[in-house]
Assembly symmetry: C2
Homo-oligomer: 135 residues x 2
C-alpha cells in the first residue's frame, strides 16, 4: 500500500548540562550554515522518533543521551526553508559535565548559556521558547 505524502519528520534534542547550559551545534551546511541549532535531524523509516533523537545527538556531538522526555511537536509551515518539516523535540539533563566533540553535519558542538542563544529554524522567539519549555 502506498502511504500518502506527509510533511517530513525530524527530531531535535534540548540537552542541558548540570550548569543549565544548552548543547548546540553550529550547522555545517546550508540552510543556515554557521548558525547555532539544536542537535537533531530527520527520522529514518524503521526507527522510532526517540531512537532517531539519540542517534542524531550522538552523531553530531558525540554525547550519549539515555532517558529523554517529550517537549513538543513543532509543525509551522514556514519553520524551515527546505520545506514542510515537522520536528518532535525532546529534552534531557546530563548529570556530568561532558565535553562534546564535533560530528556529522556540524561545524562545532558546544555548551552555550541560555542568554547567548540565537538559533537556526523557527522564528527566533519560538526557538527560545522551545528551550524554555523544556526546563
Amino acid at each position: 500500500m502506498t502511504l500518502p505524502q506527509t510533511p517530513a519528520l525530524a527530531t531535535d534534542c534540548v540537552v542541558f548540562d548540570p550548569l543549565g547550559r544548552v548543547l548546540l551545534i553550529r550547522r555545517g551546511h546550508e540552510p543556515c550554515a554557521g548558525k547555532h541549532a539544536l542537535p537533531g535531524g530527520f527520522v529514518k523509516i524503521g526507527e522510532t522518533v526517540a531512537s532517531a533523537c539519540r542517534r542524531e545527538v550522538k552523531e553530531e556531538t558525540g554525547i550519549e543521551v539515555a532517558k529523554i522526555s517529550l517537549v513538543g511537536v513543532y509543525s509551522d509551515i514556514d519553520r524551515d526553508p527546505r520545506g514542510h518539516i515537522v520536528s518532535v523535540a525532546f529534552m534531557t539533563e546530563l548529570t556530568n559535565e561532558t565535553p562534546p566533540r564535533v560530528g556529522s553535519d556540524a561545524r562545532s558542538a558546544e555548551w552555550v548559556d541560555m542568554g547567548d542563544i540565537d538559533l537556526a529554524f523557527d522564528p527566533h522567539a519560538k526557538a527560545k521558547l522551545r528551550i524554555k519549555d523544556a526546563r
Copy 2:
C-alpha cells in the same frame, strides 16, 4: 531541495465527553475495517499537526474541537500494518454532550465507555494506555 524519505505522519485525537466517555469511530476501510479507532488521519503538507487533528475529528465525527493538548508521539515500527506511520496524539475534553455524526472514512462514530475499548492499531494495551495518558 529534495527532503529525505521519513515515516508518514498522522495524528489522533482522544476526545472525552463530560461523562468521561471517549469518542471512537468504527473504521470504514481496511486495515482493521469495522474496528474501533480514535478519530484521526494523515497530516497534509501545508497544515500544522494540530490543524490536521481538528480537521480529521470534524471530518470523521462532525464534532468541532478547539483547544487540544499534546498527549504523546507514537512511533513504534509495527504499530500500523500499512507501513511506518508516526502518530501525534492530542486530547480534549468537551464541556457539552454532543452527538457525533458519521463522516468520511468511518462506518460509525460513537461515545464509548473506557472499559469497552478495543482499538485498531498499536498493540491493544498500548492503545488503552494512550487514552489513560490523556486523562
